[in-house]
Symmetry: C2
DNA sequence: CTGTTAGCGCATTCAT
DNA sequence: ATGAATGCGCTAACAG
């Protein structure tokens, strides 16, 4: 049975007819009840119930220029670092009556451009990017579209519009400073090869004042890739003392591999991750990391968009949410 | 600076004028180039480039009854079990020109109903649910809406429409049979309390022919909750031989807690998870689990929706993707 | 191959 | 407090 529904969905027209009022009165009764008499509202409500009317948001959006949709763009949903952000974004937006349309770029600038184009075509009331918009063409398009945009998870001198993030260079610098304070000389890096991870590596190396043996792994990072990364690093330097990882998943992999090789953590090898994934506090030993409040980023981004949509002027369109080091057993001295 | 764009976005009207053709010819040149002369297409394309035209998909959808959007509904994005499904769904849909609108139910039937209502209002060309639709009201609404629906990750005698899933009772039964074959008598269950996890527990207990000590944990399951669950189970039975977990995250937590207490895995305590998360193969010891192809579920769901949208008749609207036991070190004898 | 006509379902003018 | 007209931007019919 593949037949389409035999029922034509009820429109506002049907509701108005059933309620014995005009189209526009029915419309107002539903979307602006303040200006309609109580009796009328009741009649309309009864008609809605009896007809099973569901407003066509496409039509409403076309006319009112408010689609009640917000575009959310991630490199890939499986990048678990962004998950709390997307989740909080979705929840916070839903509570304001907006829904999220998802787009994936696969870390590819061309795909980013095409995703943004179709996204703009859907007339979203806002667009939230995880990361900065890469291509210049896309940046221009976004600006000219007039759609409120929030870039997240990074900082920039010239954001497209609004921004909620933090400095990855500073994160790398902080971890580098921490390693220096511990006196570790023979250190390595296990890292993803995306833009932000590279910024953290840059900051780390700058603080250390030199290049550091590095194992690059493709996205998405995982426990398995962490194990391989440590194997690679130990080939480069068999006497490694500490490893800085671009995610807690990688860090856990490095740790598993180290323990499997009979290395003690942290005595023989210290490990630091990034992101403060929930499992990191509960492994044995627990994993030192850098905490970033991903959910807060999502909430703030949602609020910026919603404020803009309401025509409120946004006092602080660029927000640095910062970060903090979390020392746990994997690097405690 | 909170000013809205000073440029009014170009419409198809502007493109047509710039290209010196009629509105509908411009429309066809873009969406149905086969019926337009090559010269005209070129003129229109040039006009598109010069005006920066981006089609308004809301308007197109209103008229054509094809919104090119598909609703995707999950309990919560953080339920990592569904992530490969949502990711594959998004990717596969994108390749067919559709985009995903996200909805979250928080495992709550009322919220499911309200999410589905606004979803229907957006006139999606299809709706994909992770799990079955809970509320009867929502089921009726969905049926009457005529929108193609795919429920996933479960089986049902009377699906709303189409279905891609597997039997959780059978999964539980398979794990129970596996435990029986190993001769483990003192067994426990660490499980989430959602519908599907309970079905697996039922299947497990039915096969064992009795009730089994159980630690229930709230969603989303995590390593931490797994540690607590084992602590709870060991209080109920200090001589536990094996634990069946409702996710690999829980299983990892149970394992970490066991090792932290000096128990050997699997000699003192055997562990089995569910979901075949990527890390499970690479922990030490590696984690036995039940494999379900979540990405395949997403791909199949997308194809069913797309086929329906193209008016093709769907030969097999209910697909059982099955599962398989994956024995690893945590339960190897 | 191209153009004209007529809406899709609703919300924003205006009027009463 | 209610209603009539108008059009958002686009595409499905039909015409030529």
């Amino acid at each position: 049975m593949n037949a389409v529904s035999p029922f034509k969905a009820a429109t506002l027209h049907d509701v108005a007819k059933a309620a014995g009022v005009s189209l526009i009165t029915a419309s107002r009764a539903l979307s602006n009840p303040g200006v309609v008499s109580k009796k009328t509202i009741e009649k309309v409500q009864a008609a809605v119930d009896s007809t099973g009317y569901i407003p066509n948001l496409l039509a409403g959006g076309l006319k009112s220029k408010r689609s009640l949709m917000v575009g959310g763009i991630v490199p890939a949903l499986s990048v678990s670092q962004f998950l709390p952000t997307v989740q909080a974004l979705t929840t916070e937006l839903a509570s304001a009556g907006y829904q999220l349309i998802l787009g994936q770029t696969s870390y590819d600038a061309e795909q980013e451009e095409s995703v943004l184009n179709t996204m703009i075509g859907r007339q979203p009331d806002g667009i939230v990017m995880t990361g900065l918009v890469q291509s210049q063409k896309a940046r221009d398009r976004l600006r000219r579209s007039g759609i409120p945009v929030v870039e997240t998870w990074d900082l920039s001198d010239r954001p497209v519009d609004m921004l909620v993030g933090f400095s990855h260079v500073k994160v790398g610098g902080a971890v580098g400073g921490y390693f220096l304070s511990k006196g570790w000389k023979r250190v390595g890096i296990a890292t993803g090869d995306d833009h932000r991870a590279r910024m953290r590596r840059d900051g780390f190396q700058t603080t250390l004042g030199r290049e550091v043996p590095t194992a690059f792994v493709p996205a998405p990072s995982s426990l398995e890739l962490g194990r391989r990364a440590l194997a690679e690093l130990l080939e480069k330097d068999p006497h490694l003392e500490a490893v800085c990882c671009s995610s807690d998943q990688l860090a856990q992999g490095v740790m598993v591999e180290a323990l499997a090789r009979g290395l003690r953590v942290p005595q023989d090898l210290a490990i630091c991750g990034f992101g403060n994934a929930d499992f990191g506090a509960h492994t044995v030993p627990s994993i030192s990391t850098v905490h970033v409040d991903g959910a807060e980023i999502g909430r703030l981004a949602a609020r910026l968009i919603v404020a803009r949509c309401r025509g409120e002027s946004v006092a602080q369109p660029v927000i640095d949410v910062g970060f903090r080091m979390v020392e746990r057993q994997s690097s405690a001295s």
